[in-house]
């Protein structure tokens, strides 16, 4: 449940934003959680609900965008899409590929009032 500490990081980032932008309430927090990021979105939502209590982020919704895992197969020298780290290359069925995307874990923006 490392999502709990990541949820805490999200709340910290939201609190930091208040220094430069005054707002009373956060309605939505848009986050990118890549499919290869080792983060379970439901656990993140659950953890967020818990750690947001009593903060400016309380009651906010996490809008989670999940970009797919992208890799470059070093055998067929082509970009491919993968769902997990154990996947075979969809073209050559090999396992020699390098991750090039889908590991993102980022807060994009806030919808505040």
């Amino acid at each position: 449940m490392h999502e709990l500490s990541l949820a805490q990081s999200i709340v910290d980032l939201v609190e930091e934003q208040r220094a430069s932008a005054a707002f009373a309430r956060v309605r939505t927090i848009r986050v990118i959680v890549g499919q290869l990021s080792s983060v379970d979105p439901r656990a993140l939502e659950f953890g967020f609900e818990v750690v947001a209590r009593g903060t400016v982020a309380e009651g906010a919704t996490l809008a989670i965008d999940r970009p797919p895992g992208r890799a470059f197969c070093t055998d067929c020298e082509q970009p491919v899409e993968i769902a997990t780290h154990g996947d075979a290359c969809p073209i050559c069925a090999g396992h020699r590929w390098k991750v090039v995307g889908g590991q993102e874990l980022r807060v994009v923006d806030l919808e505040v009032e």
Partner: protein, 278 residues
């Protein structure tokens, strides 16, 4: 209000992502209502930029920050510190009971006096592991993570501040026994060493691919038990290769010493690499 997308509520607000990310989407789904009637509907959102906000008091604040940012900042600080003292920092991870502490105790006893060492022990509770390490004469510090399931880079920075980084030696960081959570947290280590014991399943690398993918070295532990088990070590190695074609794989037994020479040689080779680094 629909729990899937927020449509249908009275506070219906059409908001768009930041301009750099403008896109539209449409979807169809059905709603069931308590009143006993059901219906399906579809609708489309047009996403524009900030100007598209329907309610004036709602606005968007751009953040664009990495959620691991704070951890990574500490990890980078640790890494710089380790480079300065030529310390080989290793992050040992495994499921609970794979033999991390036993491996360390044997390693510290057998390599005693060859180079400086220090050990950081991560556990939710107790300082039992640090006591086992200290009994070998090596400096060790226990971090109790409480409810946390992993060590993070700031905890390691604190511990290194207290213990000191062993100059031209090895800092072993024994993470909390957990094959999931520590995978994402960079501690500033030179490599993650993943232990998997032969009393676990051959399919562990496939079940926990994130961790095995992050490994620089996989140690297959407790190999002295193989004669008593129906364990296909070849299948385990093949599964490791499926998620990580680059990691070194060594078979060891802390109890009998089988294969430990190759592990000590691996440590020496990594230390020499650091010595030779500019």
């Amino acid at each position: 209000m629909c729990g899937v997308c927020g449509c249908g509520g009275e506070e219906k607000v059409v908001v768009g992502p930041a301009p750099a990310h403008a896109h539209g989407h449409d979807h169809d789904h059905a709603h069931d209502h308590d009143a006993g009637h059901g219906h399906g509907h579809g609708h489309e959102h047009e996403h524009g930029g900030e100007a598209a906000l329907a309610t004036p008091e709602l606005r968007r604040v751009r953040v664009e920050r990495d959620i691991f940012e704070k951890n990574d900042r500490f990890a980078e600080g640790n890494r710089k510190g380790f480079a300065g003292t030529r310390t080989l920092a290793l992050n040992l991870v495994s499921s609970p009971g794979a033999g991390k502490t036993s491996l360390l105790v044997t390693t510290l006893e057998k390599t005693k006096g060859q180079y400086a060492v220090a050990v950081i022990e991560g556990d939710q509770q107790t300082s039992l592991d640090a006591q086992r390490i200290q009994a070998t004469g090596a400096p060790a510090l226990q971090i109790n993570t409480g409810k946390m399931c992993h060590l993070d880079a700031s905890m390691v920075a604190d511990a290194v501040g207290q213990l000191g980084a062993p100059e031209r030696g090895v800092l072993f960081i024994e993470n909390v026994g957990n094959l999931v959570c520590p995978a994402g947290f960079d501690l500033g280590e030179a490599a993650k060493v993943v232990l998997v014991s032969v009393t676990e399943g051959e399919d562990k690398p496939l079940k926990y691919p994130d961790m095995f993918r992050a490994a620089g070295l996989v140690l297959v532990t407790k190999v002295d038990l193989l004669p008593h088990l129906d364990f296909d070590i070849g299948a385990l190695v093949a599964n490791i290769r499926r998620v990580n074609s680059a990691a070194d794989v060594l078979r060891v037994s802390s109890r009998t010493g089988d294969g430990m020479g190759a592990w000590y040689a691996w440590l020496d080779a990594r230390r020499r690499e650091l010595e030779a680094a500019p």
